[in-house]
């Protein structure tokens, strides 16, 4: 009988594979090995949760709402000039 060795993943490896895992860039066998590991390792499951939370928090970076109205006016003028045949400055 041939014994197929299933790949195993340990914690430290998981912390380096997590992005490829989230990006769907890993072969199926490795994904399965990771899922098996996550099923038994609460710390690595927490690491995944933290990474997902990190991505979420990064996504909430505040917009720059201090837009000077003069800036908008100047751009509008540049637009109008362009359409009246005056090329905007580089």
């Amino acid at each position: 009988m041939k014994l197929l060795r299933r790949p195993t993943i340990v914690c430290q490896q998981w912390t380096e594979l997590i992005t490829d895992y989230l990006e769907g860039a890993l072969p199926r066998g490795l994904v399965k090995a990771i899922n098996r590991h996550l099923g038994t390792c609460p710390h690595c499951t927490e690491y995944l949760a933290q990474m997902q939370r990190t991505i979420e928090i990064t996504g909430s970076l505040p917009l720059d709402e201090h837009v000077p109205p003069e800036m908008i006016d100047a751009l509008q003028h540049a637009f109008e000039d362009f359409h009246h045949g005056l090329a905007p400055e580089e």
């Binding site: 690595c44 928090i57 909430s60 905007p88």
Partner: protein
């Protein structure tokens, strides 16, 4: 928007812009300006330079709208123009900045301090595992102190990591959009994203308190 979805139908708006409808243009600028300024400010040394980058972006939009082929959304197209302008400017600035002050993109450091594992190198198990963030109240995770730390950390990332993190995780681009705009391979893009996200998680772990 992921690249897989077809771009929204913006033909009516594009038509108005091409005809020289200043009101439509003003609306477009007003809608995108806070986002473009946020992105530009991440890559240039001052608010003034960020405004310049955004200004130049809009001038390029004015000049280029006739040739815009609508293969992406207007938003993605405008952002790509900004990326190109900011990258050109960044390259110029770097020539005048002492190189020693810049972190290298190629510095290969592990996502988590190896001292936090026990066992064979690279194959260790957690000795000092991550604390549970789910126990944290939402106010702590999204406090202004946390957010400003995130801004700082993003700003300190090496240039390429910063672009990838900003475009993927802040601007919500797909990996193929990012690869195309930055001239990266998929593998390279993932490596940069991995390092950038790991740096942010490490910072947040310190910031949000490790005690469990």
């Amino acid at each position: 928007m992921p690249a897989t979805s077809s771009p929204p139908d913006e033909s009516a708006l594009i038509k108005r812009l091409r005809k020289g409808d200043a009101f439509a243009f003003r609306e477009l600028v007003t809608a995108h300006q806070p986002r473009l300024l946020r992105l530009a400010a991440t890559f240039v040394p001052s608010r003034a330079v960020a405004e310049e980058v955004v200004q130049e972006t809009w001038i390029a939009v004015i000049r280029g709208i006739d040739k815009f082929e609508q293969r992406s959304s207007l938003k993605t197209w405008i952002t790509r123009i900004l990326v190109n302008i900011a990258r050109t400017k960044g390259a110029k600035e770097r020539r005048t900045v002492p190189m020693g002050s810049l972190l290298s993109d190629s510095a290969d450091s592990p996502a988590v301090d190896p001292d936090r594992f026990v066992g064979p190198p690279g194959r260790g198990g957690w000795a000092d595992p991550p604390a549970r963030w789910s126990d944290l109240p939402e106010q702590v995770a999204l406090s202004s102190a946390t957010i400003s730390k995130v801004v700082d950390t993003v700003q300190q990332l090496p240039e390429q990591q910063k672009w990838v993190v900003m475009l993927r995780d802040v601007e919500d681009w797909s990996s193929s959009e990012v690869c195309e705009a930055l001239g990266l391979t998929e593998v390279n893009q993932r490596v940069l994203l991995h390092r950038g996200r790991a740096a942010l998680r490490n910072m947040l772990e310190g910031q949000l308190g490790v005690a469990s």
